[in-house]
Symmetry: C2
Subunit: 555 residues, 2 copies
Amino acid sequence: MADAAQAKLRIIPLGGVDEFGKNITVVEYGDDIIVVDCGSIFPEADMLGVDLVIPDVSYLIKNREKIRGMFITHGHEDHIGATPYVLRQVPVPIYGTKLTLALVDLKLKEHRLPGVQLNVIKPGDMVEAGCFSVRFIHVNHSIADAVALAITSPAGTVVFSGDFKIDYTPIKSDVTDLATFASLGQQGVLAFLCDSTNVERKGYTMSETRISQTFIDQFQQAKGRVFVAMFASNIHRVQMVVDSAALFGRKVCFVGRSMVNVSRVAMSIGELVIPPDNLVDIDDLSNYADEEILIVTTGSQGEAMAGLTRMAYGEHRKLQIKPTDMVIISASPIPGNEKPIARVINQLYRCGANVIYGQIAEVHVSGHACQEELKLLHVLLRPKYFVPIHGDYSKLWQHAELAESVGTPSQNIVIPERGQIIEMSENSLSITGIVPTGGVLVDGLGIGDVGNVVLRDRKHLSEDGLIIVVMAIERDTGTLVSGPDIVSRGFVYVRESEDIIENARELTRFIIKSYENLDGSEWQTMKNRIKDELHRYIFEKIKRNPMILPIIMEI
Amino acid sequence: MADAAQAKLRIIPLGGVDEFGKNITVVEYGDDIIVVDCGSIFPEADMLGVDLVIPDVSYLIKNREKIRGMFITHGHEDHIGATPYVLRQVPVPIYGTKLTLALVDLKLKEHRLPGVQLNVIKPGDMVEAGCFSVRFIHVNHSIADAVALAITSPAGTVVFSGDFKIDYTPIKSDVTDLATFASLGQQGVLAFLCDSTNVERKGYTMSETRISQTFIDQFQQAKGRVFVAMFASNIHRVQMVVDSAALFGRKVCFVGRSMVNVSRVAMSIGELVIPPDNLVDIDDLSNYADEEILIVTTGSQGEAMAGLTRMAYGEHRKLQIKPTDMVIISASPIPGNEKPIARVINQLYRCGANVIYGQIAEVHVSGHACQEELKLLHVLLRPKYFVPIHGDYSKLWQHAELAESVGTPSQNIVIPERGQIIEMSENSLSITGIVPTGGVLVDGLGIGDVGNVVLRDRKHLSEDGLIIVVMAIERDTGTLVSGPDIVSRGFVYVRESEDIIENARELTRFIIKSYENLDGSEWQTMKNRIKDELHRYIFEKIKRNPMILPIIMEI
């Protein structure tokens, strides 16, 4: 073994820093690499038409022969969402808990990607991968079967918190394995990479158990059907809701594609336990009285195609909200979703339903550690170096401050940038370079073929629409034989703005005339002049800036 | 005077119900109409390229000879934003307090609309307008000089709360005039129309004074310059910030167009009082030490063009954030602005500034009444009828529930829809019809020329871009003489997808060939077939759905 004091470990966050999502980190020692997580992120508002953003993994492709495995902390999209895309390019074995890998497997099947080696581990297990040994540590989170990782290399041990909270009264699992964190701390931790999502929040995150009383209270009052909208992956909350409803004689029906899929997977591996008698198929609901029914469904984020949204708007084939229904929205808005959620809540009120949501009752708790929980982990681990991850810059910065406040010297803290090579040993910590990173945009089946030019055009088109000016010119004589015709889309309602269109045509005709006996070499100049002058005319006239596209047909 | 028990009063909310913004309500009795407020609303996310949405006032245009005046409760955009547009169509006298009308005047000047009759009133004043007498009642709100209205007609008195809160320790003005509300209640109130913005919030809204201590604490700690970003219209908070900073020897510099304009107006009417010695022009800042400077600026909502945003990104001509600066963001996000604000906060952290915002310290309080304040007004007024306004459907519904809980029978409550004619007398309350309403979209100088077709096209273009297929066909012979050429924008990065474009061209050529000796009458059929088949090909190939625009040039 190399001298630990000299041996250098490299950590490269390829995503998940200065952003929420797309978590993926490289841990590298000598000729061995392991990858922690492989998440996707939702597109930004200005990424028009983009479905999903995945990390740029060209560094992994370049070093593919060094990669010993991919270790996944839990099954949320921001930690597994990019697996089908990345594994297609870099086929490596994956390690994770039962539920995590079952969810990865769903994804791989959807993408028809067979042959990926999925290695199920249990919390407490230790896996050897190249020079690394990786230990899985049970943590509480808003998805079951979440783990932290302790990765031991010849240079020392790196701990990844994964997404976690400390729930002293969890619904079904054990408390976050504090003993293991404490013993790691005693053995010595070189670096700690920790979730920063809730670093702004003082105190402790509430226990999941706290909201079970809210559910029981609500079920007690409910007179008709009860609908609960939530994230499908929050299996333990599903369990709690189903169990609480059973106390009042309600049977559960899962509605919505991901709710049906994930609950099925969770039941198949024993993570969700529902007596068969208590499960009702959507087609059999008519056999039950309203007060015997619990519907657990998707749509807690106001997603247009999700179960709750369709039921609220009367667009669901089999279910529709009615005045006797109680609807509980058990989630808080992901930033950016506030408006769609408000729209669905309004629509539920219009249906006459009794709507219970965050503003009205405690029906949701966060899955992420607040300040006091973060401090506890910092203090147990007493790491030499600290690297905040999972959060935008302001959160990473505040987490660095928190670490300092509990004893990590500021020179031992790195606020990482995406792609930075953070090199560390017992004696040194430095940034030694940067590797290519960034977001790869997925639009339909296209991966990476939508870039800045395409997005700029989409944005331009979306704001003021388009004017096409088309004309036919005889090559030999340079005479205009047809047009100019003007076609517009997304610009103005043409019938009410015939003047503008007619004047634009007149102006174009005038410009063309000024180029007598058009030579092919002049066409580009003429096109530019048409663009410029139409732009100026239209902006003056109506203060809009449509895309102007002159097209010359050569006859 | 008519028999009050029989006389019918009509109330028509043209906006501000089932939405946040665009507040405008018609009060009508016999041949007299008065209009309360005239607001605009921000466009929804799917109103691409739209700058502003104003109410449809065709009902006012139709009844213009009946209108006796427009009464404005306060100077926020959702109450005055549509004035230049509406007054151009319906020139009527306006009534409002000094600050309110000064802000309306700014707007009218910007829109070059002279000759509007602006009548300044004071709280306590009474104005006669047709058969109505309108009394102005002082209320606390996040803008100075806000009022409620008590409108007395032969059918009885209607009270509009306006936007309000009850602040027992306001910064500069008096407490909301509870005595007048109480005496109105004793005289008898026919109907109460009340703000519903904060109806979800239990308890009381905090006093504006509460945050002044936060500011003093922060100023005490600040070592360099202090920046405060806030709404320009919150004059009393500006006063409090300026006064608190003066205690520490700081002089104030206003930055950002609306901050400069509004503070100037507020000073000119004495609503904002700053000794000339304490005011610094942006060009003179270099004469002062950092610890003598307070910058009050715009950008609390992360607006791209606002002062704070440009200073954070180094795009401001004269000021740039540096590590010794303290930046206080004294506002909470308007729903939908969470992400832009987070981006600015991140950028401020990157600049190294000490950033103070809602998550970190109490630097903002709401301007709207919470449940207990609402109850107080309900109980003081004891109205016969209640109509909740200013809020989306779920809030109006909850406000109706609150009114019932303090004694208004449910049959005396109307949850209004936009445009409903609510007719009432001592003996009856009913909906007797509906008038045209809706949002009129303003895009550049165009008002109402962007409608559903244009928006649908913009949305389509924004999601998957555009493919233009252009060809020239000889009219007489029906032969193809040029093309088909394919031009795409916002679809794919063409250099990397030459195959798709080339195959699309081939497919089009094949379709054209199948129409031998093209007759002009067949062109439309052929165009449709090109659209359909290209659509199918491209969707299969890449799961995208660009707009396909076949254009035939006739030679």
